[in-house]
Symmetry: D2
């Protein structure tokens, strides 16, 4: 069961990232990324995608990387995706809406919520 | 305000992706990815990361790509990240937990939920 | 010892790629890439970079990928780099000149060619 | 016309990279990459591929990036490919041989070398 707190992580993160637009770039990593601009943010997305790939390979081969490392790299990739979206005036909400539509998840969801038919 | 349905998109998607493990690879795109294995899934992550970068550049320069295209590419990147996680026995929950911990979002969240002190 | 034929591979490839600008896109893979444009060529560079990374990991872990597969992926990455350069009016010559300058290789080379000082 | 010095740039670079295996990692960038290992080298390939993509987009849109910047990024990508190959016991020679075979360039080359028939 998805806890209410859990399910709002992305909405809370959107809010943090939006607030960072007013933050001091010398004191905030995210504000510094905004200042450096889109190319720097996209370089980070490229870097994090590579790190996800390497961590997944190492996780599969039972190598040096643990499960937490793989999870951390995917979190970094999603995080920098959200930084880019916020920088362009978008947020996680558009991504979730898109996933919902593509996979008919609201339908699935609705069905799951519907009291079992007699 | 995050709607209840909206906030469960990732949990619903996790469930769909888990169910696809039993699906016919000739009839399901996701089941086909599972059959082709980790390298094929990681190739997709690399491709989608590149497409996010190109769409963001085109969106910024007011070029051919519209806002919906950029949103769609990020959705594809997240989607294939989730396919990879499911293939490795993980899910979006670990990613959200990680983001929550890193950014102290449960704290933020808790505060937002707390009734204003009198 | 570098054979004379060997050392001109990139120059020969530049010439082939330049000629493909006049070729029928329905009959030539390269002419088709030119027609589809820069984004498609850059998508290929992103894909090939990912395949290099995966092949190198598999080569290192002694897995399914052989030495020839890794070599083939790097060749694909360089090839698509040259397609992009040709599409933008550049060639391998600029890349080699840049490497030469950065690493002082013409100096190294000259020294190697100079008859040993008495 | 390809100058003799020019055409040996990659062979000279192979030699430099091989020599760096014995160099002090605290004094040599390449020796430091070897010490850090394959994952770090592959991260650099991912980073440089992203920078090629961004520079090509900026070059196309007549933006901030000049022709020299695009050339420099491709040189960086090729350079780090060669670092990886050297680390794995390979060199540019295998890549050029592969390109030669795939594109029948030795044939092209031979024809170009043949004195015009009387």
């Amino acid at each position: 069961m998805e806890s209410p707190i859990h399910s709002d992580v992305l909405a809370a993160l959107d809010q943090v990232l939006a607030e960072r637009r007013e933050a001091d770039p010398d004191a905030s990593y995210v504000a510094d990324l905004y200042r450096r601009g889109l190319n720097r943010i996209l370089e980070k997305i490229g870097e994090e995608a590579t790190e996800v790939i390497l961590a997944a390979k190492d996780f599969e081969s039972g190598g040096a990387v643990q499960r937490d490392a793989l999870v951390g790299e995917v979190a970094d990739l999603w995080f920098h995706s959200l930084v880019m979206l916020t920088h362009q005036g978008l947020s996680s909400r558009e991504i979730l809406n898109c996933l919902e539509e593509r996979f008919g998840l609201s339908g699935i969801d609705e069905k799951a919520r519907r009291p079992a038919a007699r």
